[in-house]
Amino acid sequence: MLAIDTRVKLILFVLVNFMVFGLKNIYLGMICFGAICILSLFMGQKKHVIKYVIIYAVTMTVQYLSQFTPKTIFSLLSVFTLFVRVMIPVMLFSSVFISTTKVSEMIAAMFSMKMPRSLVITFAMTLRFFPTFSEEMHNIYAAMKLRGINISLKNVFTRPLLLFEAMLVPIIMRSASIAEELSASAVTRGLDNPSPRSSFVRFRITAFDVTVLALFLMLFVVLFYCKYRLYGRI
């Protein structure tokens, strides 16, 4: 298992994003997905790769089978499968990214790239809050169920506004108090200290990082050249 420098991972992410959205052609897209799979395997993320390869295969099968369905279903399905197929490589890369990068590494990397402090703190906060949000949401939903305001077809159609209010108001209240508590804790630990931030994480660009980056840049150029030859435009 090889670790990649967080900054290199960020650059790769941008490259992957442009590749995936620029290359909707089925074969070029598959090459791109394959490259991301190989990279993820090198990073020791076998589980993620297997999961997304299976989803990819199922999507392709559905796309192939949809040719034999009536026209209206076919047109709906083909757009849906295209959407899923294009999204899968990015989703694979982002889940690998998240499971191989700690928030502290992310912050240290962003600081070392000279990004503004305000953006780094807010962005780190946003990433960190997503799991807390789903946890809070579960608790709120349990309370809602207890009072009979669960998400059922009946409730959605007869009292959608109450449903909306019962979900949104508590989550906002909780979020507001979490914001208070977290900032109190962060300020106590010296978040407002104006001197340059030190970090336990040390960054070193290794030969492996350079190789991976070079290979992906080459792939980027080659795939877009292929696209140019196929369609006559980028």
Partner: protein, 205 residues
């Protein structure tokens, strides 16, 4: 620290506390917007008005953010973070850019009301969501290759592409933008009602 009213009367420069507040409410804003967009993607017609539907529901979060952090740069910061997250989950760069531009415009509008005027904040919010709607659909009109390459490489039904092309032209984007703006204003007024009903009493605002 315990009294949240001190936040809105503090100095003009943002502190760590404000960054954290913005980060947390940005997540709420993002999640609610995404739920609305995914729910609207069921049919083509509702999909076109997805950002407008989102504008109605997300208004409360946006207006609360303005009340909690009425400071220079707060709107732009939130828009920039949403742009980055949109980019990370793979929504494509036009959407990300439109969020950042919309946030800049909203920032200017709110700044003219010193970040505390409800009307200015509401207009800013409506403009913000209008930019989001335009950024989602204008590329499909301006860069027809976007949809063309779909039909070339995937065997996507030509009729569907034609429908989308027919539905999405210059005037239609204008209609989408106007609807998004109106929806944004409605969202802001719903936010005002909800804020008065719940959050004033609880001391959050």
């Amino acid at each position: 620290m315990s009294n949240s009213i001190t936040v809105s009367t503090g100095s003009d420069k943002m502190k760590s506390k404000d960054f954290i507040t913005i980060g947390i409410f940005t997540v709420l804003f993002f999640v609610i917007t995404m739920i609305c967009i995914f729910a609207s993607a069921a049919t083509v017609v509702t999909f076109i008005f997805g950002p407008s539907i989102a504008a109605v529901f997300s208004g409360i979060i946006y207006m609360l953010m303005r009340i909690k952090v009425p400071k220079k740069g707060s709107i732009f910061l939130s828009g920039a973070v949403i742009g980055i997250v949109e980019f990370l989950i793979g929504a494509g760069w036009p959407v990300a850019v439109s969020f950042i531009i919309g946030a800049l415009l909203a920032e200017f509008i709110s700044a003219s009301g010193n970040y505390r005027s409800f009307t200015k904040n509401a207009i800013g919010y409506a403009v913000y969501m209008t930019c989001f709607a335009i950024g989602t659909f204008l590329p499909m009109v301006l860069i027809p290759s976007y949809t063309d390459s779909m039909s070339n490489s995937n065997g996507v039904d030509a009729a569907y592409i034609e429908n989308l092309h027919k539905l999405l032209n210059g005037p239609m984007v204008l209609v989408i933008a106007v609807v998004a703006f109106v929806a944004g204003m409605i969202g802001a007024f719903i936010a005002k009602a909800l804020l008065n009903k719940h959050f004033k009493k609880a001391g959050i605002v």
